[in-house]
C-alpha cells in the first residue's frame, strides 16, 4: 500500500476518534439512562454544563484535573434536575429535556458574560495533552488513533468496555433492563425502581459532563456560547443508531466523528463553496443513516413513562 495513503487514513482515524469521543461518552450515558426508561433529550444541556464548568475551574485554578471534576459535577447537576422532574414529579421527559437545553444555553452564556465580560479575545486554558501508551501505540494505523490520545479518549474507550460488561454480564445490567422494560415487574421482584432510575440519571450526568469537558479541555481550550453546537442531539442519534449497545454506540459515533473530521478538512481545502455547506455534513449523514435504520430499533417498553407505585 502507498505510504501516503496510510498516512492519510491514519490522520483521518485520529481525527475521527477525537471527534467521536464526546459523542461516545454522552451516548453511553444516555444509553444507560434510556435502558432504565428515562428518555433525557437534555444531553445537550448536560454537555454544555460540563463544558462550561470544566473550563471555568480549569481557567481559574490552572488545574485541568480539577476542571475535569467540575465538568462531571456540572453534568450531574443538570442530569439530576431532569431526574427529579421525570422520576419524582413525573413530568413529561421530553419537555423537561428540551427546557433544560434552552435553560443551560442561556445560563452558561450568561454566567460566562458575568465572569469575563464582553471580550474580543476568548479567554483560553491549556488542554490535556496526548499520552502515548507504550507498545499499543506502535500498532500500525489504529495504534496512533486509539493509543496516542488524550485522557478523554481513554476514558471513553474504557467506558465502552465497562458499560458492555455492566449491560451484559452483571445482575445490575439485568436490573436496569427490567426497570426500563417492565417497572411493575421489577418493583414486584423487590427492586427499587426509583433508586435504579436515579442511579441511571447520575451516571448519565457523569458521562455527559465528561463528554462536555472533552470538548473544552480536550479539543478547544476555550469556551464560547453554544460551544457544543448540537453534539448533544447528535449523541441522541448515536444512541439510536447504536441500539443502546456500547459497541454499536462506538461504531455510530465513529461514523459521525469521521464525517465531522472530513468536513473540517474539506473546509480548509479552499473549494469555492460556503463553509456552511460542509458544516451541515455530519447532520446530513446522521439523517441519512437514520433513514437507513427505519423500523429496526426496539425501545425499552417503559421509555419515557413515569413509574407510579400506588397506581390503580
Amino acid at each position: 500500500m502507498d505510504s501516503g495513503f496510510i498516512a492519510l487514513v491514519t490522520m483521518y482515524l485520529i481525527a475521527s476518534v477525537r471527534m467521536a469521543t464526546p459523542l461516545i461518552l454522552a451516548g453511553l450515558g444516555e444509553a444507560i439512562s434510556e435502558k432504565a426508561g428515562i428518555l433525557n433529550i437534555g444531553v445537550e444541556a448536560i454537555m454544555l454544563s460540563g463544558a462550561f464548568f470544566s473550563f471555568i475551574v480549569a481557567f481559574f485554578t490552572g488545574n485541568l484535573f480539577l476542571g475535569l471534576l467540575a465538568g462531571i459535577m456540572g453534568g450531574i447537576f443538570v442530569s439530576m434536575i431532569h431526574g427529579v422532574l421525570s422520576i419524582h414529579c413525573k413530568a413529561n421527559q421530553t419537555i423537561a429535556g428540551l427546557a433544560l437545553n434552552f435553560m443551560m444555553m442561556g445560563l452558561t452564556s450568561f454566567l460566562f458574560l458575568i465572569v469575563f465580560g464582553q471580550t474580543t479575545t476568548l479567554p483560553s486554558c491549556s488542554v490535556f495533552s496526548e499520552v502515548k501508551i507504550p507498545l499499543l501505540s506502535s500498532i500500525p494505523i489504529i495504534g496512533s488513533a486509539l493509543f496516542n490520545q488524550n485522557i478523554f479518549v481513554y476514558i471513553a474507550l474504557i467506558s465502552i468496555v465497562l458499560t458492555a460488561i455492566f449491560f451484559y454480564k452483571t445482575e445490575w445490567g439485568i436490573n436496569l433492563h427490567a426497570v426500563g422494560e417492565h417497572p411493575q415487574a421489577a418493583n414486584s421482584a423487590g427492586l427499587n425502581v426509583f433508586a435504579i432510575r436515579y442511579f441511571a440519571c447520575f451516571v448519565n450526568g457523569v458521562l455527559g459532563g465528561l463528554g462536555g469537558a472533552s470538548i473544552t479541555l480536550g479539543q478547544l481550550g476555550f469556551f464560547m456560547e453554544n460551544v457544543t453546537s448540537g453534539r448533544g442531539y447528535i449523541a441522541l442519534v448515536v444512541v439510536i443508531l447504536g441500539r443502546r449497545n456500547p459497541v454499536g454506540i462506538f461504531a455510530a459515533a465513529m461514523v459521525i466523528g469521521f464525517s465531522q473530521a472530513l468536513q473540517y478538512n474539506l473546509q480548509t481545502l479552499g473549494f469555492p463553496i460556503p463553509t456552511q455547506v460542509f458544516s451541515m455534513f455530519p447532520y446530513v449523514v446522521a439523517v441519512i443513516v437514520l433513514f437507513l435504520s427505519i423500523g429496526k430499533s426496539i425501545d425499552p417498553s417503559a421509555l419515557g413513562i413515569p413509574f407510579e407505585r400506588n397506581k390503580r
Partner: protein, 509 residues
C-alpha cells in the same frame, strides 16, 4: 393458629371504599379461595398484604407477628409471594433471569448462570413445573409464563402463594395440570390463596372459601359445607337469570356472514390459515381458543382493519373483501372490540363525541354540510336512557365511567341501525356479573332479530352459554366446528385449544 390473619382492613381510592373492614384468615397448608365479582376488593386486599398498596387502617398478623409491608421486597423476605393476573415478567429477559431478578445470589453482581439454572431446575422438577430456563419469556405460552411465576415464588421459598385469577387464561387441561401442582404445594406444607370469580373451579381444589362483595366480607366457609348455588348468591347478592336460547328462525333470503378460505400473512407469519365459516342470520358462532391464537386477526380482517392475504369475505351475498372499514360498517357490521379503551372509545372524549365516531358520516345528523350537535345530543340522550348508562351528563369524558357503562355505550353505538352482523370480541371482558348479563342478553336479542353474530371469548363458559355452534381456533386455524349440544365433549375442545388434534381423532374413532 392461623398463619395469616388480616383484621378490619380498610382502603379507599379517590373516596371510594375498595375494602371496608375486611377480615381474612388463613391456616397453614390450606388452599383458600377469595371469591368475588370484579371490583369486590379481592385484589386490593391482597395487594395491601403484599405491600403494593398501603392500607388506611386495620391490622395484619403473619405467624402471630404484626406486620406492615411497604414494598413487595419486604413481603418476599417474609416468604409471601404473589402472582398477579397480569404477569410480572420482563418479556425481553430469559426465564432464569426473571426468576432471579432482584435477588443477590452468590457471586453478585456477576451471576453464575449455570449454578443458578441448576437450582431452578431442581425446584421446578420437585413440583412438576417443567420449563426451559434459557427461553425468553416472550416466546412462552401463557401457561408456561404462569409456571415461571410460580417457580419464581418457590425459588424465593414462599410459604404463602397468592394467585390472582390463575385459571383465567388456561385451557381446561392446563387448569387440571395447574391444580395438580397446587396439590403438591399443599402436600409440601405451603399455603395458597386463589383470587377468583369462577365458582365451579374452586369447588374441587380449595379447602375453604371467603366471599367478598362491594369491599365487604360476606361469608367464610369450608368448601365442602357449601354449594355452588349458595356461593353464587353470596357473591352477587341475588339469583342469576338463567339464559335461554330459542331455536334459530331460518331466513332463506339471506346468506349471512361468509368467510371463504381467508388467510392472513404478515411479516411471513401466518396469522390466519384458510378460515372458512358461514354464520346464518340469527345464529351465534362462538370462537373458543387461548388468547393470541389469531382471534384479533380474525376480527380485524372481517372488519377490514387488516387486509387478508387471500380468500373472500361476504355479507348477504355482497363481496366486501376489498371494502374499507367504513364501507363495511355502513353495510351493517357492528364491532365490539376486546380492548374498549384502545380500539373502541376515545377515553378523553365525552359520550356524544364517542357516539359520533361511528355516525359522523350519516346524513341524519348532517345539516347543510355540518354535523348538527343538537341531533347528535338527542340521539345520545335516547341511547343513554335506553341502555341505562350511568353518567352524570352527556359531557362526561368516558374515562370517568365504569367499565360496564363504557361497554354499554359501545354496544349502543354498534347496535344502532339494526346491523346485519355483529363481531363481538371478548364483549364481557373485565365486566362484573350484572353488566356481563346485560351484554349477553343484548347479544341474544340481536340474535332473535336475525343478526349474524361472531362471538370470540377466552371464557369457555360464555361460549357454551351463548353459541349455537362452536369453532375452536389454534394458531390461526379452525381445529373444528361443532354444534353446541348437551353431549358436547368438553375435553375434546380443551385438547383442540391446545392444538392437539391427533388425540381427538383417536378418541373419536
Amino acid at each position: 393458629m392461623a398463619l395469616l390473619s388480616m383484621k378490619n382492613i380498610c382502603k379507599s381510592f379517590f373516596g371510594k371504599r375498595a375494602n371496608n373492614r375486611v377480615c381474612f384468615d388463613l391456616m397453614p397448608g390450606e388452599i383458600h379461595a377469595l371469591l368475588g365479582e370484579n371490583g369486590a376488593g379481592k385484589t386490593t386486599l391482597m395487594n395491601i398484604l403484599y405491600g403494593i398498596y398501603s392500607r388506611d387502617s386495620g391490622v395484619i398478623l403473619w405467624k402471630g407477628q404484626e406486620v406492615s409491608f411497604t414494598s413487595p421486597r419486604e413481603a418476599i423476605a417474609c416468604h409471601i409471594g404473589m402472582v398477579h393476573q397480569h404477569f410480572m415478567l420482563v418479556p425481553t429477559l430469559t426465564v432464569s433471569q426473571n426468576i432471579t431478578l432482584g435477588l443477590r445470589e452468590k457471586g453478585y453482581p456477576f451471576p453464575d448462570r449455570k449454578a443458578l439454572n441448576a437450582t431452578i431446575t431442581e425446584v421446578s422438577e420437585k413440583y412438576g413445573l417443567e420449563i426451559d430456563v434459557n427461553a425468553y419469556i416472550s416466546s412462552l405460552s401463557v401457561g408456561e409464563q404462569q409456571r415461571v411465576e410460580i417457580i419464581k415464588l418457590l425459588y424465593r421459598d414462599a410459604e404463602l402463594l397468592i394467585l390472582d385469577e390463575p385459571t383465567a387464561m388456561l385451557t381446561p387441561q392446563e387448569t387440571e395440570y395447574f391444580f395438580e401442582v397446587l396439590r403438591k404445594l399443599r402436600a409440601d406444607g405451603r399455603s395458597v390463596i386463589i383470587i377468583t370469580h369462577r365458582i365451579p373451579e374452586i369447588m374441587s381444589i380449595t379447602d375453604r372459601v371467603t366471599v367478598l362483595r362491594d369491599g365487604c366480607n360476606v361469608v367464610t366457609e369450608k368448601t365442602s359445607d357449601i354449594t355452588e348455588q349458595e356461593l353464587s348468591q353470596y357473591m352477587i347478592g341475588r339469583q342469576l337469570n338463567s339464559i335461554q336460547r330459542e331455536p334459530i328462525v331460518p331466513d332463506a333470503g339471506r346468506e349471512g356472514l361468509l368467510l371463504e378460505d381467508v388467510s392472513l400473512k404478515e411479516k411471513n407469519i401466518k396469522g390466519l390459515d384458510s378460515i372458512s365459516l358461514q354464520i346464518a342470520p340469527g345464529e351465534i358462532v362462538g370462537v373458543a381458543g387461548v388468547d393470541g391464537n389469531g382471534q384479533k386477526e380474525l376480527v380485524e380482517v372481517i372488519l377490514g382493519i387488516r387486509k387478508q392475504s387471500s380468500g373472500k369475505i361476504g355479507l348477504d351475498g355482497l363481496d366486501m373483501s376489498s371494502m374499507s372499514v367504513l364501507e363495511r360498517k355502513k353495510l351493517g357490521i357492528g364491532y365490539i372490540s376486546d380492548d374498549r379503551q384502545q380500539d373502541g372509545l376515545v377515553m378523553d372524549m365525552n359520550l356524544t363525541d364517542n357516539m359520533l365516531l361511528k355516525t359522523h358520516t350519516e346524513q341524519q345528523f348532517i345539516k347543510g354540510g355540518l354535523i348538527n350537535a343538537r341531533l347528535v345530543w338527542e340521539d345520545t340522550k335516547k341511547v343513554v336512557e335506553e341502555y341505562a348508562i350511568k353518567t352524570p351528563d352527556l359531557n362526561t369524558p368516558l374515562r370517568n365511567l365504569s367499565g360496564g357503562n363504557q361497554q354499554k355505550l359501545i354496544l349502543a353505538r354498534e347496535m344502532a341501525g339494526d346491523p346485519k352482523a355483529i363481531v363481538a370480541h371478548q364483549p364481557t371482558r373485565g365486566l362484573d356479573i350484572g353488566a356481563t348479563e346485560f351484554v349477553q342478553q343484548q347479544l341474544l336479542q340481536r340474535r332473535s332479530k336475525g343478526c349474524c353474530i361472531l362471538l370470540i371469548s377466552a371464557d369457555l363458559e360464555e361460549i357454551l352459554l351463548l353459541s349455537d355452534r362452536i369453532a375452536v381456533i389454534y394458531k390461526g386455524r379452525f381445529m373444528g366446528i361443532f354444534p353446541n349440544t348437551k353431549d358436547l365433549n368438553l375435553s375434546h375442545i380443551g385438547l383442540m385449544m391446545a392444538g392437539r388434534t391427533s388425540e381427538v381423532r383417536e378418541e373419536s374413532l
